[in-house]
Structure formats: C-alpha cells, structure tokens
Subunit: 466 residues, 2 copies
C-alpha cells in the first residue's frame, strides 16, 4: 500500500509529464491570442478577440455564452461540467480579461508587441503576463485533466471580460443581471508572480480606485505672461487646489475621505509585515531619489501598500514646458489624480468629498471628472479555500508561498467576491520583471509550464472537498 504523500508525488509527476505533451499546442494558442490587438482604451479588435476566446473555450470542450446585452465590450462566459469521477457539487470560477493596455512607447519594445517572441526562455508580447497567458494556462490545465481517467475533478466556470484595463465599469451590471451564471464556491483571480527569491506571491484582495481628472480653464487662448499682473492663471489655480488636497507631509486633507475605512486588524497588519520586502532592491530597481513617504510617517511600506489609501498625481500639464523659456500665461491646466482606496471606502463618496472640498476651499473653478471608480475587496483569509490554494502551491512550486491580504493594485474583485459571496485568491504566471503595462512585457516559459501543473493540481485538491 502506497502512502498519501507518495500518491500525490506520482500524481504530480503525471501532471508534469502531460503538461510537457500539451505545451507546444498551448504556446501556439497563446501566439494566436496575443496577436489580437485587444486594447480596450482604443476599442480595437474586440469582436475578433471575443471570437478567439470563445473558440479556445469550445475547443477545450466548454460551453460558451457571450454576454453583450449591457453594451461596451462583451463578457465571455465558459462552463465545464465535472467529469464522471468529479465532485459535481463543487464549482471553481476563473476570472480573466482579454483586453490589454496600449503598447506605447513602441520604440522601447525589442520585438513587435503583438507577435509572441521567445528569447532566452521568455515569452514576450503585450498581454502575455496581463492576462492572456493565464487564460491559456487555465484552459491547458482543464484539457490536461480531461485527458486523465475520471476527467475534471469539479465544475469550472470561466469569466473573461474585456474592460479590466479601463476600470471594468460594466462588470457589475453583467453580474447582477446574470446572478446565477457566475455563482461558485470560490474564485481564482487573474494575476500572480514570483519574487526575486522565486517565492510565488498570491493575493486575496485588491485596493479600490478613484481616478479623477481635474482641470481649470482660464481663457480661450494662451496669453503673454506679462498679463499675469491682473489676469488669473489656471496653472496656479490647479496647483493651489491640488496643494489643498494633500499636505507637503503627505496627509490627505479632504474631509470625508477616510469615511468608512475598515482598518486592518492586528493580525492583518502582522501578515503584511511578514511579506518579504527588500527596500534596497526597490530603491535601486527604480533609482529612487526621494526618501520613502513611509519613513517620515514611521509606517511599514508593506502595510501602507495593503491598507493605506493614497492620492497620487499621475500627471499634470499646462502651458509651455519645452526647452528654455517661453513667457506665456496658459489658458488651461489639467491633472490626473489616482486615489487607491481601501475596504469600506466608497468611490463615489470620495469623488463627491473632493468636489465639495474644492468648492469649500474656494476652488469652484476646478472641474472634476470621474474617469474610473472601483471598490476595494479583501477575502476572509480564514476561509478553508486559502489553505487548499497555498498547500497545493507549496506542493507544486516547492518554495515558500506568500499570501498577501491585499494587492496594492486594483481590480473588480468586489463585484465577484462581495456580490457573489466567495473567497478570491489571485495567482498567475508572472515573474518579478514581467513589466505589466510596460514595454517588453514577458512571462518565463518555465513559469508557464509550472502554472499549468499548479492549476491542474489545485483543481484536483479543490474537488476533494465536500
């Protein structure tokens, strides 16, 4: 009689062997998939990409439903029934998106962004790590399990949306108008990566986001700067308005901004501080010149990343900023402001608070436009789903697994975790230099392969629970 641990070992061996057999076809599939220029910000190639995603799911034996009644970019829904030996009472939902960020600046790519290019064990293309590679990984894992005796160990649902990169603004409507379609016991989210010590990082939550455009128009035309003696300046107005929102000490000064904030528990703070973080590495990676905000505030950067709301100027523009001097009083000034919010904060409330603040402080001439709004979400880490996810990962990766209560980034987890009541873990095949949203986005071939084994193994373990 063989032991449980030996049985698992043998099973993993089998999964690895089968993965190698399926790999060439999967890479071909990924090659086709990344070739679609599905840039949601530019509304390009959406119909063709949806057709391709549907074809991949159908080719894997799933049923497809294309949801497009809400408008904007369709959501592709795929469904796979548990096999004859599978647990028909358990359903896992995969969240993915088929849209990608714009590839610009093009001159910084070493190969065409929309042609999968393999160099030194890495696969390069726009979307390969965010998030097209992971959909192919997941479909390959399904195909792998179907080829084994007994077939799929549980039911599987796949949601592939097309507006993640522009704020998933229609996802909630798609979910609430098709409530039964997406119900599941748990959800595997889109992304995840290995750090420099090859530890796989997973997250169980995301921050929310309020992305605003602030602008001030002073005149119809640029004016000679000598008129600054009596004509007011929209650049000064915007600078003063922004300065009123956040102090030089990085305190957000907007009344009501922190309303409803659910502060992390002592345990959650401890979890954050246990996450590996190499400050010197970050400083040299980015070439940082300024002291960390968290130094002055005596905060832990990891805690701040997970639990602290932010307000970031993503961009500002006005007048002349070329070489040398131009003596102009600008006609207009514009800024982009990105607030990363935490559990309990309401995006619309925050946008309203900022507008109210500006009016109250004498800046009613500043126009505020809400470009993007998302709530934060954090799963309950005590849910048994997380021990399955982490243990299965340890077994496949053979390293420490880092489960973060929240990403510092954002995404539409609230719409699924909160509205459909399920725990969410995010895992994927990125690495520490994947360059999401940047030129030369990549995944490593070995992570792609290992990711297939992991998803297949996770599905097996998930199906075992009753």
């Amino acid at each position: 009689m063989i032991s449980e641990s030996e049985r698992m070992k043998n099973n993993l061996e089998l999964l690895r062997k089968k993965t190698l057999e399926l790999l060439p076809q999967s890479i071909d599939e990924l090659k086709t998939y990344v070739h679609f220029r599905s840039i949601s910000a530019q509304k390009s190639s959406m119909t063709d990409t949806v057709r391709n995603v549907s074809a991949m799911i159908e080719a894997t034996g799933g049923n497809v439903k294309i949801l497009e009644n809400i408008g904007a970019n369709p959501v592709v829904f795929g469904y796979f029934k548990a096999g004859p030996n599978g647990n028909t009472k358990r359903t896992l939902l995969f969240y993915n998106h088929y849209d990608v960020q714009p590839p610009e600046p093009l001159e910084e790519w070493d190969s065409d962004p929309f042609t999968l290019t393999i160099r030194e064990g890495k696969l390069y293309a726009r979307g390969v790590s965010d998030n097209k590679g992971d959909l192919v990984v997941r479909l390959t894992a399904i195909r792998l399990l179907q080829s084994l005796e007994g077939g799929l160990p549980c039911n599987i649902k796949i949601l592939v949306e097309g507006e993640e990169e522009i704020g998933s603004r229609n996802l909630e409507a798609y979910i609430t108008s098709n409530p039964d379609l997406f119900t599941a016991d748990a959800c595997i989210w889109e992304f995840g990566e290995k750090d420099q010590q090859e530890r796989a990082h997973m997250v169980a939550g995301v921050k929310g986001m309020v992305y605003l455009q602030l602008s001030c128009t002073g005149a119809d035309v640029d004016i000679h700067s000598m008129a600054g003696a009596y004509i007011d300046n929209p650049a000064w107005r915007l600078v003063q308005a922004l300065a009123s929102l956040k102090s030089a000490e990085n305190e957000i000064l907007v009344e009501g901004f922190y309303d409803g904030v659910i502060h992390p528990s002592v345990e959650e703070r401890e979890t954050a501080r246990r996450i590996p973080f190499d400050e010197e590495h970050v400083k040299s990676l980015y070439g940082l010149k300024l002291p960390l905000i968290t130094d002055a505030k005596q905060q832990d950067p990891r805690e701040a990343m997970m639990y602290e709301p932010t307000m970031t100027i993503c961009g500002i523009e006005s007048g002349y900023y070329g070489e040398g001097s131009k003596t102009v009083l600008p006609r207009k000034a514009l800024a982009k402001l990105d607030c990363r919010i935490v559990m309990g904060q309401e995006p619309e409330h925050i946008a309203n608070c900022i507008e109210r603040h500006l009016v109250k402080h004498g800046f009613k001439d500043i126009e505020v436009e809400l470009l993007n709004a998302q709530r934060a979400y954090r799963s309950d880490l005590s849910h048994p789903f997380f021990s399955i996810v982490v243990t299965a990962a340890q077994e496949v990766y053979g390293t420490e697994i880092v489960l973060e209560p929240s990403s510092a980034g954002s995404g539409p987890m609230y719409e699924i975790g909160q509205l459909l009541h399920m725990p969410i873990a995010s895992t994927g095949v990125g690495w520490f230099d994947s360059r999401y949203h940047a030129p030369n986005e990549s995944i490593r071939a070995q992570d792609f392969e290992q990711g297939i084994v992991y998803i297949a193994h996770l599905l097996c373990e998930f199906g075992k629970i009753n």
Copy 2:
C-alpha cells in the same frame, strides 16, 4: 510764404507717397525675413538670419558690424551717417531683435508660421509683430529719407540682437565691451501697438524678469501608481513647493522678494490710471473665465501691469496627461516660473530668495535653474525727447497718443538706458490683437505703412534739434 504747419503737411504727404512706392519691396523683404526660423530658445537658423539682417542694412546703404566675440547669438550693428543737409551732431539708436518665440502650438495657426501670409489686410507670421516687422519699417523709413533731397536728417545706429526672447543675457557684455559703438542721444525701442480706439501706445520703460525652471526628480523610471502608498511623488513635491511660493489669494510669500522695490509716485500712479483700459474688451478678447486678480486685491489693472511684481507659472509638466486614465507615478516633474519685477528689484537676489525659501520650507529636493534675468527700467518722462516722439506721432496718426511710463512686459532697456544714459521710447506697428508669442501673430498692412511714415517723420523732427 507757406506756414510751418502747411510745410509739415506737405512733407507728410510726400512721405506717404514715397512710402506707397517703397511698400512692395518692403513686404518682399519682410517675407524673406520671417521665413528664417530664428527661434533663439532652440538655437535655430541664427547664422542665416544674421546674414539676412546684415544684407538688409547694407542694401539700405548702412555699414554693418557683426559682434560675436562674447559668444551666443551675434549682435548686428548698423550705422548710417546723416545726409548732406542732416544734423551730424544728433544720433538716434534703434533697438531691435531678430530672434522670435517658438511657434507652438502649431495646430492653432491658420497658415504656416514662417510663411508671410496676407489675409484681409493683415500680415501673419511668427515674429511679424515681435519684432521683425518693425526692423523692416525702420529700414524702409531710412531708404525713404535717403531718396529725398538732403538725405538722412541725423545719424542712425541700429542694434539688432538675437537673444531678446531668451532674456538678452549677453547684451550687457556686448555693450560694455563696445561702449562707444552704441552711444546716441536717444533710443527708439522695438515695440508698440494701437488699442481698440486706434490710439497709438508707446512705452518709456519695462519691467524686469526672473525666469526660473523648477524641477524635481523622484526616480529613474515611471512607476505603477499603486506604489504611491510608500514611494514619494515628484509631481506632489513640485505642486507643494509652488503652492508655498504664492498663496491662493495671489500673494507672493517669498521672504525678500520685494526688497528694494521702488514704489511709483502719486504722479506715476495717476499716469497709469489715465491710460485707456477697456476691461470688458480684454475679457472678451481672451475669453477670460476667471475673475481678475486685481478685483480681489482692489487694485487698478493698469497700475498692476506697470508697477506690481508678478509670479506666473508659464508651464508645468509631469507624468501622463493624454486621453483617459493611466495609472503612473511620474519619475519627474518640471515647472517654468516667470517673475516680472519692477524698478529696484535685483533678479539674482530674487532667484536666491526663492531658492532659500524652498530650502527653508523643506523643498531642498526642488532644483532651481535661472533661465533668464533682467532688470526693470523706466525713462525720465520729463526728457525733451518724449515731446518730439509724441508730437510727431500725433501729427502722423492724428489721434491721441498714449505714453506709458512702463510696459508690463520686459526687455533689456536697462542695459541701454541706464548703462549708456539715454531716454528710451518704444513704438511699433502692432495692433490690439497682434498675438505676440501666440498663434496667428499679425500686423495690419495699414499700420505697417503708417509706421514707415511715422519713423521717417520722427527722424526729420529729431534731426531739427541741436
């Protein structure tokens, strides 16, 4: 015997007739001259432009000397001797510049900025009003007088520099190293314009200028904005630093900024308030959306333009400011700051005060670069030169003439007026919608023509004095 006034009338008639004959050649000359893209901020086409200016002066019969020993853009010096009937003891100096502002934003021009285009009686091109048109006017007037019996009524010197638009930083060195070259009894400055009531405005002084570039570098690369929780943001640093310099109520908060200010006398203030100013017209001309600064401060806009120091953001830039949202923490932020200063203020002292202020307020990470420095200058209006200038203008234009103690703009008058001890009056062929430094810069053909007559007449009157 004919009366003095009849003689003058006849003389003016003659000047007008001759002007019409010379006009086609002058317009051709201007067409060639504006075609040179002599943008000093970009150091383009300087050598070719200098050659063109020299050729124009020589073609008019002047001696040319090109000064280039100081470095940077050469100064062209032209000299014309009084004619056989002229007053050889009197010398008038014309100050002009051959450099222009950058033409951007190009899309707002209705025709190519460097091709003289005539539409509805107006001549459009970059530099046509600031200040290439006036040099051609002056050379045409000289040619006109040379064609008359007796020739030039006085000696004439012309100084055409190539760095006015970037602060004339080498002019003082050129003047002090060639002190005898530029001596004259009086100087006619580069610019002037008619207002909406067709009154010609002249100025006898300028504000000074301190043009600074402020920048802050946070990192070597742009970073995902989620890192805003712990990585500091150069855009926020710059916004806070700027906001510390000037309050939302437009008070300049820099210690020492007002040191040495020579306040206008009661008489000078009254002179300012006598200058015609149509507030409603200005508002509709520029399409102003914000209240005037001077309203809140209960100041007279004309007094502020002449006597009040300013601090203007000419431009600011950081991160992403295109369509929609991009979640980026910018690596760098930059602003251009233009202070118009008054009599008694020292540009270097002000630059030092601003640097000291920033350090004192915790912004030692803001780099300050002085791009441009100029002192203010005001002529003594009781000098007899001004009555010649004004009376001759009344005789040619037939309207009220407005002589302003100071322009709200700047220029290197100090270097000539103070260092070479001469009164300066500025007059030119601009109109109220000339759009200096802006797209669709223009002069009106009738002003160009009248300007030639005026300069010729002024030279005749100037030569009469002993």
